[in-house]
């Protein structure tokens, strides 16, 4: 079972779908950021699986996964800073109450 690329890619696809659901359905801005982290992790799992089963990608897979982790850390930093800055003005973490650009 753990010797098949398809199993890893299926797992990654299901985790990505869970993250998509969280991003579309949750009301809390930080929940949406956590769902984005889930989706990034799913993509990382797919990259690692390719690096581990396809010979020409052997070390490149790990390198790309490390790059994705660094970019995810940068994204989390800036995203949470934006959420905290909005919270300071609007006093709510719920995204459906952020309507300043719709009025």
């Amino acid at each position: 079972m753990s010797d098949s690329l398809d199993v890893y890619l299926t797992l990654s696809g299901i985790l990505f779908a869970i993250g998509t659901f969280g991003f579309l359905a949750r009301r809390n801005a930080i929940s949406m950021l956590m769902s984005i982290e889930l989706m990034l992790n799913a993509v990382n799992l797919a990259i690692i699986a390719f690096g581990s089963f396809v010979e020409p990608l052997r070390a490149d897979g790990s390198v790309i996964a490390l790059m994705v982790m660094a970019v995810a850390a940068a994204e989390a930093t800036v995203g949470l800073a934006i959420v905290i800055a909005i919270y300071r003005n609007r006093r709510t973490p719920l995204v459906d109450e952020y309507d300043a650009m719709r009025r």
Binding site: M1, S2, I18, A25, R26, R27, D60, T77, A81, D96
Partner: protein, 198 residues
């Protein structure tokens, strides 16, 4: 009394079901008694805690379930033969990003936040869309020939370092500049302005 019994019994029941399913499958001969058993266990822990992250009401518990999900994923990386990435996963995701998210939760949640509605009105549509997305991915994976080998390749750390600091050294430097810019930008955005709202 029944409530405390439920608080102890329900987690025990869930853990028992999680452990007994792969072991039972192994005894039935569906999966083998080697890394497959561990992989199955880690995969179900990862998927279950991922579902808990997007469905639980209390957002602090969502953050803690996210840590469990990342830990199980690190175990899967070890089984897939990428131990350095697993170590980086533990350090960066469990050690840094999760703590950052937990602190942001504590800074932004009001007392009545768990009592209010958790999902938006389009939650049902989102559920349908994500199930369709998962189905499309699974069908595509099953239908495509990726040219893969039948066995896993182990990525040695010294070979990884050779590739990282020879072929990808420009990307490495660009990522370090990106991290610096993100740190400065994060501090600037989250900084309290003089005379602004407290």
């Amino acid at each position: 009394m029944p409530r405390s019994l439920l608080n102890i019994g329900a987690p025990l029941l869930i853990v028992g079901a999680l452990v007994s399913l792969p072991v039972g499958l192994a005894f039935l001969g569906v999966i083998r008694f080697n890394e497959d058993l561990l992989f199955f266990l880690l995969a179900e822990v990862m998927l279950l805690s991922g579902l808990l992250v997007v469905t639980m009401r209390d957002i602090i518990r969502c953050g803690l379930a996210m840590i469990v999900c990342f830990g199980a994923l690190a175990g899967i990386y070890v089984i897939a033969g990428a131990p350095l990435v697993a170590a980086a996963q533990v350090l960066i995701y469990i050690g840094a990003i999760s703590v950052l998210i937990l602190f942001a939760i504590m800074l932004t949640q009001t007392k009545d936040a768990p009592a209010s509605l958790v999902f938006q009105t389009q939650a049902l549509g989102a559920a349908v869309a994500s199930v369709i997305l998962a189905l499309i991915v699974v069908i595509t994976v099953a239908a495509t020939d990726w040219g893969e080998l039948g066995t896993r390749l182990h990525t040695a750390t010294d070979a990884l370092a050779q590739v990282l600091f020879r072929d990808y050294v420009l990307a490495f430097e660009v990522v370090s500049v990106l991290l610096l810019a993100a740190v400065i930008g994060g501090v600037y955005v989250a900084k309290r302005e003089e005379g602004g709202p407290p």
